[in-house]
């Protein structure tokens, strides 16, 4: 195999097949994929399906805790999880810039394969294109996913008193990316929280009847996701600052850079809105899952007042938390975002 991806690897013929066999089939291996058909087929038992798609164009391509491939597979699996679905099959499209490092493609594919084997999710179809230098920045990945909705789950109208749970520490992915992007020389236990969350949903099947909504706080962070929920539900949120799980590393790095953890992406966390009666039960189940020891109830819904996210600060004051507008940038001045 060459050490660089060349235009001919996208020719659709002999060289594309080499790339697909030597890298993608090798790492995504499953019985449905290696049939080399243009479309994969499977039987269905008429249960309700969830279907999602996402494209990943992020930089940097590699970061502590993962890479763009891992992000893609986990992101799509987690979107299915928010629909209460057991993730089953993924498609995967690669658009690769001519001259891209072949070893890195292999690293990316390997990570994706690992997550698939860990979760039982299969990549059963895909596409590979190689484009001229400058047409894309490195590599772009699209993943679509199909899952089977469990226990007849449906999002339900949110009511006053419904509790908001986060499944673990926030802002880890966004903070890790910021450190890489701005080349901040810090050392500590900081890595992306990128992980698949289907194991959590498996533990919660019996509670699905009391779960109103699930959302993963990716781009724009917890603040943006909560604002989106407020907009859908028409109800306000009361958030408790002291209940938010934030690691010391995340706190320190963001103070150094002048960034706000509330707006950093999380790639391995779920927001779960649940009926007040069942909240403690759900929290208990989540906390028993790996890496979810810091899961917490961070707030609740209210119907009085304008529909906004209002946070009770550590000193008992109140402040409104808005949606992120534009990317957060590091700064030396406290008052510019």
């Amino acid at each position: 195999m060459n050490d660089k991806v060349l235009l001919r690897h996208g020719d659709g013929g002999k060289h594309t097949n080499l790339l697909i066999k030597d890298i993608f089939y090798k790492h995504f291996h499953n019985d449905m994929l290696v049939n080399s058909q243009d479309a994969s087929t499977f039987d269905w038992n008429y249960r309700r399906l969830a279907f999602t798609t996402d494209s990943f164009v992020v930089k940097p391509l590699e970061f502590p805790g993962g890479n763009i491939g891992k992000l893609a597979v986990c992101g799509t699996i987690n979107d299915l999880v928010t629909a209460g679905a057991k993730p089953l099959y993924l498609s995967c499209g690669f658009i690769i810039e001519e001259g891209f490092d072949m070893k890195l493609i292999e690293t990316i594919a390997e990570s994706m394969g690992k997550i698939c084997r860990k979760t039982g999710v299969k990549i059963i179809t895909g596409d590979t294109k190689v484009v001229e230098k400058g047409s894309v920045d490195g590599v772009f990945i699209n993943t679509s996913g199909i899952g089977e909705v469990q226990a007849g789950y449906q999002p339900k109208p949110i009511q006053e008193g419904d509790q908001i749970i986060i499944t673990g520490g926030i802002a880890e992915h966004g903070t890790t990316i910021a450190v890489e992007r701005y080349e901040i020389k810090v050392e500590g236990n900081i890595k992306s929280d990128c992980r698949p969350l289907n194991n959590i949903i498996e533990k919660l099947y019996t509670y699905l009847g009391s779960i109103k909504l699930m959302k993963d706080p990716t781009r724009g962070g917890l603040a943006t996701a909560l604002n989106e929920i407020v907009e859908i539900s028409g109800k306000g949120i009361q958030l408790l600052e002291k209940a938010l799980p934030i690691s010391d590393e995340v706190k320190s790095i963001n103070e150094l850079l002048g960034l706000d953890p509330l707006y950093h992406a999380c790639e391995g966390r779920m927001i779960i809105v649940v009926d007040k009666q069942k909240a403690e039960g759900v929290l208990g189940e989540i906390r028993r899952c790996k890496d979810c020891e810091d899961a917490a109830i961070i707030g609740s819904f209210v119907s009085s007042g304008p529909p906004k996210v209002v946070m009770r600060t550590v000193i008992g004051g109140r402040r409104i938390i808005n949606t992120l507008e534009g990317d957060m940038l590091p700064r030396i001045c406290g008052s510019v975002k």
Binding site: L256, G317, R318, R319, L329, R331, C333, V336, K337
Partner: protein, 356 residues
């Protein structure tokens, strides 16, 4: 931090207030911390916390941004900057937009990182946008001096460093006794010393306190000021940030500032021309001064017609009374510092639609 202690202190503050009190802070980080803590929701409505021109980026004149963009258009350079400056708009757009148009603009965390960057990329020319107050000035000075000592010939500095003391004099002269107390910026004081701010009390008879940035520090400052204002004690000045601030400040830092910079007049966005309010690179280090090396067409100083930031900063007017509020001035297209700063009076009014 002891929440009960703070709650007690805030209760004490509220019980002392009878008439309206206006306390101003002049530091973007104080502005942000006050907002972050939700302090205004805990204090009596009679206490008005005013946000002064304490954000160096927010008071950077459009001309400066235009100059940086002109340099990018005219010369083959890499412009490096603090993240703060990326979205601030001049008349030709922002640096973020320039970057989107293919210009080489990079965000850096420290100007000292540029030394290595310039050494490793001899083929490129780097310009650093040195914006800040007295806190950042010695660091920019250190970067310039280090570049000189190492003979680095591909690094330049376009500075817009502003000084706190002249703007405070201006505000206090203009304030017509509208400001009853002043929270002094703790990190400027770390460099310049607490004595640097004593004039506030000596010349203008306004109680002032040098404060740090934790909840305890800010509440302490407000407690101290409210106590002395309500007891009509004018001659009160206190350094409440002694753990970082000495009377004379950081001597090494000040020597560096004197070695590299001269004092000159400055243009403050939304306010205008203030004498001796700026630092510029002096003759000794002229070869590092981007404004001398990368000549562009002289930029017109834009004075926003109708921008009332001057009066809004002083609490004399509300945002809604400004002609431009929401009519040509918005967070996407801000005119003066009150809108540029996300915690500025106008930006907050715009976001929450409240009278501030």
């Amino acid at each position: 931090m002891n929440k009960d202690l703070l709650t007690h202190l805030i209760d004490e503050v509220n019980s002392m207030v009878t008439e309206e009190i206006k306390i101003m802070e002049v530091c973007g980080t104080h502005t942000q911390m006050i907002a972050k803590l939700g302090l205004r929701t805990l204090l009596s409505s009679k206490i008005k916390l005013l946000s002064g021109p304490g954000c160096p980026v927010c008071v950077t004149e459009e001309k400066y941004i235009d100059c940086a963009i002109e340099i990018l258009n005219k010369y083959n350079v890499t412009v490096t900057t603090f993240g703060d400056l990326m979205r601030v708009r001049g008349s030709m757009g922002s640096l973020l937009e320039a970057k989107g148009n293919g210009k080489d603009v990079r965000i850096i965390y420290s100007p000292l990182d540029l030394i290595e960057m310039a050494e490793k990329n001899r083929g490129k020319q780097f310009i650093f946008l040195g914006v800040g107050f007295e806190t950042t000035a010695p660091i920019i000075a250190l970067a310039i001096k280090t570049a000189s000592e190492r003979g680095i010939d591909n690094l330049y500095f376009l500075t817009s460093i502003k000084l706190m003391s002249p703007i405070l004099h201006y505000i206090l002269k203009e304030s017509n006794n509208q400001i009853h107390g002043l929270i002094c910026p703790g990190h400027v004081a770390t460099i310049k010393g607490s004595d640097y701010f004593k004039f506030i009390t000596k010349e203008y008879h306004v109680p002032a306190a040098v404060c740090g940035f934790q909840a305890t520090d800010i509440v302490a400052g407000i407690y101290y000021l409210v106590k002395h204002i309500t007891q009509n004690k004018e001659e009160t000045f206190r350094n409440l940030y002694k753990r970082c601030v000495s009377p004379q400040g950081n001597i090494t830092a000040n020597l560096l500032i004197d070695e590299v910079f001269n004092i000159s007049d400055g243009e403050w966005r939304g306010i205008g021309h203030i004498e001796n309010s700026s630092l510029e690179v002096n003759e000794k280090y002229a070869r590092y001064d981007a404004s001398r090396i990368f000549v562009v067409e002289s930029q017109q100083v834009i004075v926003s017609m109708g921008c009332d930031c001057k009066d809004i900063l002083l609490g004399k007017k509300t945002p809604k009374e400004c002609k431009l509020f929401m009519e040509g001035c918005s967070p996407m297209n801000p005119q003066g510092p009150c809108m540029v700063s996300t915690e500025g009076t106008c930006a907050i009014a715009y976001r929450y639609g409240e009278e501030v």
